[in-house]
Amino acid sequence: MIKVLATNIISPLGTDTEQNFQAVRAGKSAVVIREGWGTAAENVAVGAFSKQQEARMAIEGFTAFESMVIRSVQEALSHTKEVDINSPRTIFILSTTKCNVEELGAEPSGDGAYLAPGATARKIAEYLGFATAPIVVCNACISAVTAQILADRLIGAGKYDFAVVCGADRASTFTLAGFLSFKSLSSVPCRPFDIDRLGLNIGEAAATIIFSKADGKGWTLAAGILDNDAHHISAPSPDGDGVRRVVETVLEGFDAAALGCISAHGTATMFNDQMESKAIEAAGLSSVPVSALKGFYGHTLGAAGALETILTMRALDEGWIIPVRGFEEIGVSGKMTICKDWTRTDKTSFLKIISGFGGCNGALLMTKLDAAGESPVHAGAGNEKAATDLQTVHTVSLTQDSATLDGQSLEVSQKGKALLTELYKKFSCDYPKFYKMDVLSRLVFIGAQMLASRENPTEADREDRAIILFNKSTSIVSDRAHIATIADRESFFPSPSVFLYTLPNIAIGEVAIRHSFKGETSLFILPRKDEETMAMITEATALGSGVSSMLTGWADCPDEDTFEAELKIVKRIK
């Protein structure tokens, strides 16, 4: 368990948590209709900063993304004297889906290295004075919940005393174009859970939470769980199975009657909201008021899980449940209690739920503890379990001209991307979808397929098998391919299948679907291939509830024909 020391939100609605809460309290929304956006000609409703706000935020020598993150972390730090950011016991965790991608060119060049998320996080961390190497969480829409759970595990395992978690993303043309091609953008302010909802709005923000070890006082992350529904890379399981499982696990031993509200994902897409309603009903939470904040901010992507947690804490401090802005009439079939107006409560616990592309889902149980009062949190909650030993059972190593399985080098004739096709045939995968994947997904898919060939078939279809991957170059091959399709207004034809693979965790989703691995799935980006950090995160993940084995390792594709994967299956020793 970890406690919240300080928070910040920088968004179009304000530059600190208080300003944001007061704006939301006054019913304001960051989402406005703009005529065209970047090279997109269509009208879009977007929760974006004004030019004046951007100018005020800018820091010389830093990009707009970096400036926003730096200011958010600095403002959060100004609220606490406890944290020494120069200490080797303090870690910076950046949560982002697309980081600096708007600065990237379509053609391969040196910009890929210094704009990579790991390099960006290191630049920010050095400027702010952190002494430790940062970790970037890139886990689609659930990134900021994943980041908070990582903070819980690392502090719980005694690796660090403090964690500064910042979630941030920009409402770039890159992202907007992608969601346009998915036909999932609403051209008017979004309406979560409403019968007339037309899709989501993209928003932008940076949201920071500073954590320390829990001491029984104040806002506390009591438990956090992730999983994968292994259903489809861009559509959630219609029955909400993945969300239901994380909700049930996170609430084990907790009296749901103590929940003030559920802070739902509520993106206002047809599929997401319907799925969440089914999950909430299936988990027996139909009577708990549901709040959702996308109507105020749009979908802030890598910031969402932090921003929405912060604002819900702030509202409950004042005894309020924030209503679902834009909601009028129920448009989902699962039984749920949607909070339509500002509602009073004296409860100080809530559930944050979230889902993302690649099939990943997450849940956090947040509760405000009072030293004098009775703790509603059950003993043994959270991730503070005894350290476990991990045993490596199978390994695979792939480069553009070599393949090694369990230490045995395979004879191969092809190089680069063609080598992956050769291996696809060699391991008779019979999965034509392979040809639609980008090179990073193909690499991870083939690696997983080779490992599976050494395992008993009963190892598939498991809820206790996690997939935890690391890389350096994010999804840069697909990023550049997507940029090429949106370069100018005359030839603006973004492709949904190219955009999908600009989320590097999709590679993990492909494997989860293929083998029906339904444990947690996360992707972390590091400034360099750092075995020590990878081992630390893998071990911390093993502390997570329900994980008994993992597919984990490094998978990096800096360009179409250059790649390196070192993947392994590890198991917990009882």
Binding site: S181, K183, T421, Y435, K436, P494, S495, P496, S497
Partner: protein, 85 residues
């Protein structure tokens, strides 16, 4: 029409990365979704991009395209009737 069908097949193979499939492998009368090529919801969105990019036809959603996207032949008929470029 035959030329348009061939062109559409090539565009579909290219856009959907149907490696190892040639235009001759695609039966222009066969269903594109479910059976046949086994396309899915993302492929449907990709077909919308093809209509926009090469023929100047804008479809608002995959639901609007349901009848159009039955087979390569139905796409060709729709394109011939509605193309603006």
């Amino acid at each position: 029409m035959e030329e348009l069908v061939k062109q559409l097949k090539e565009q579909i193979i290219d856009a959907l990365n149907l490696e190892e499939i040639t235009p001759d492998d695609i039966d222009a009368a066969a269903p594109l979704f479910g059976e046949g090529l086994g396309l899915d919801s993302i492929d449907a969105l990709e077909l919308i991009v093809i209509l926009d990019k090469y023929y100047g036809i804008k479809l608002a959603s995959p639901a609007d395209g349901k009848a159009v996207f039955k087979s390569v032949n139905t796409i060709a008929e729709y394109v011939a009737a509605h193309r603006t470029k």
